[in-house]
Amino acid sequence: MEVDDLYQDILLDHFKHPRHFQPLADGEVLVDEENPTCGDHIRLTARVENGRIADVRFDGKGCAISLASASMMSERMPGLTPDEARRRIADYVAFMRGEKELDEGTLGDLAALAGVRQFPLRVKCATMSWHAMDKALKKLGV
């Protein structure tokens, strides 16, 4: 496996231009999720409107993998019901841990993160923001 299999162009693009990345006012922050192995963190906010996730934004510090996966996550959530979102999160986390397979269709551009699975030490980077989203839904009581 070459390094650009891990850091694919799609991933790098999300890292350099993270979608929905935007400094959050302290009052907005729903969840501040930390990766204790490296000291990085993601802060996240989300809204639910008419039973569907309407908006996800985040800021924080992290490696390319964590920022890119947060960016991809923030693109996929809007439009889902909380239950659909939770299922997606669980599937993705299980996939990253090598506990579950997902087909191309389900994965979409998340396939760019599949290489991370070979590096157990980096799996937390790729799941941190997804855990944060899960907690945000709980916080919102939905």
Partner: protein, 436 residues
């Protein structure tokens, strides 16, 4: 990339290519063939005497595959684990954690998070006595031990009892070397918070009914620690079946390297416990003033672990499973009974321990020959046994002797080695009575 994205991740580490070409997989159980896997057993000592190693309850010998994996580890993937993002670091981490999973499966633990690497049984028990006991015990609480415990499962409890005001109670040992189970049930009527007992006595060879004892202790509201130093090497042991809260054992007594052992703990109990050693690896957040702990099992594994030891223990477990734990149990018991039969033919020999279910450890005394003189004398014939109090001074007192001699067999021993033992003991008796 996209072609592989939905298949499981390919293994990072190529399978260990062991060059030692062991006999263990090559046919039905045959101790004579398996001996070829243990180079040390072919040693001749004191000139031309073939080694008869009968001190297996102290420590076992290691098969070639265990020695081999140590070399291979240091020559192909040595690195610090868990935090090194580089080729060697990923390899070492993966193999270290793979070893943990092997041990988890071997002892039937529900999660690898409940398998903690320690230096050995002694440290494992100290972790529980200290990290659980010092915080949980109140004055007047009771700890039930037995009269046949190794010092390792006695002294730590003495200290924690002194510190907390808890009281120790002891299940007496009956004349046949079994525990007085009626007394045990009576003792459990007190304010018992912990029952800690050995699965198999390292002196008497007695196999205690630990499953039943655990159920009784649980019914009385106590936690249970099983000292499995002598049992995990000797027979199938499943923590799920025993239902104990803690299980402690040592790698070096089960074909593994020195310096590594295991503490199994029930997840809920481990999760409520504070750590024992603190420092690197076991923390989550640290400021100058305060710290929070990592998840299990790291919470109990401060500092750089004994990586090669854990990996070696994993390979030892592989070996044991290929021999078969039922096979080992049955063979050890048969050989121990053969040894007893041979020793009993010698006038003046007295055997300690007549339990109906027993392991490969046989302790005895020879009239007129001090155990240390006996061990020294028969060593000259290449025969290695143990003499002394065997880290069980209270049990010695119960037996009415300062010390005993112990021959302890393992699956690679042979009847003819026990014949040599008997002959050499006869010679010793003669020698110390009449001189050479």
């Amino acid at each position: 990339m996209s072609n592989t994205s939905s298949s499981s991740p390919p293994p990072l580490v190529p399978p260990v290519a062991c060059v030692c070409n062991e006999q263990v997989g090559a046919g039905p159980f045959d101790p004579r063939r398996l001996r070829q896997d243990f180079p040390i057993l072919a040693l001749t000592v004191h000139g031309d005497k073939t080694l008869a190693y009968l001190d297996n309850a102290a420590t076992t010998q290691k098969p070639a595959s265990v020695v081999c994996v140590l070399c291979e580890y240091y020559q192909a993937c040595n690195a610090n684990v868990h935090r090194s993002i580089h080729y060697l670091g990923e390899q070492a981490t993966q193999r270290f954690e793979e070893a943990r999973k092997k041990i988890q499966r071997f002892i039937g633990a529900p999660s690898e998070r409940s398998v903690i690497f320690t230096r050995g049984t002694t440290e494992s028990i100290n972790v529980v006595a200290s990290a659980w006991g010092r915080r949980s015990l109140k004055p007047g609480d009771e700890i039930v031990l037995t009269g046949m415990e190794h010092h390792s499962n006695l002294v730590p409890w003495q200290l924690v009892a002194k510190e907390t005001g808890a009281r120790l109670k002891f299940v007496p040992v009956l004349d046949d070397g079994t525990l007085d189970l009626e007394a045990y049930e009576r003792l459990l009527k007190g304010r018992v918070r912990m029952a800690a007992f050995t699965h198999i006595s390292n002196v008497l060879g007695t196999v205690n009914p630990v499953k039943r004892m655990t159920a009784l202790a649980h019914a009385a509201g106590a936690l249970v620690l099983v000292d499995a130093a002598q049992s995990v090497p000797n027979r199938p042991v499943s923590v799920t079946d025993l239902d104990c809260d803690f299980l402690a054992f040592s790698g070096h007594k089960m074909l593994g390297p020195t310096g590594i052992g295991v503490l199994y703990g029930r997840l809920e109990v481990l999760e409520r416990m504070e750590p024992f050693l603190t420092g690197g690896e076991m923390i989550s957040r640290v400021t100058l003033e305060d710290s929070t702990w990592a998840d299990l099992p790291q919470k109990f594994e401060a500092g750089t672990p004994h990586v090669s030891g854990a990996i070696g223990l994993g390979v030892a477990v592989d070996y044991l499973q290929r021999v078969g734990m039922e096979t080992i149990r049955d063979y050890d018991e048969r050989l121990a009974r053969y040894a007893i039969g041979r020793l009993e033919q010698i006038p003046g020999v007295r055997i300690f321990g007549r339990a109906p279910e027993r392991s490969g450890a046989v302790s005895f005394e020879v009239e007129g020959v001090h155990p240390h003189d006996l061990a020294q004398f028969i060593d000259r014939d290449g025969i290695a046994i143990r003499a002394g109090h065997l880290c069980a001074q209270p049990l010695m007192k119960r037996l009415g002797v300062p010390a005993v001699s112990r021959a302890s067999v393992y699956f690679y021993n042979l009847e003819e080695e026990l014949d040599r033992l008997a002959q050499s003991i006869l010679k010793a008796k003669e020698f110390f009575r009449h001189g050479s």
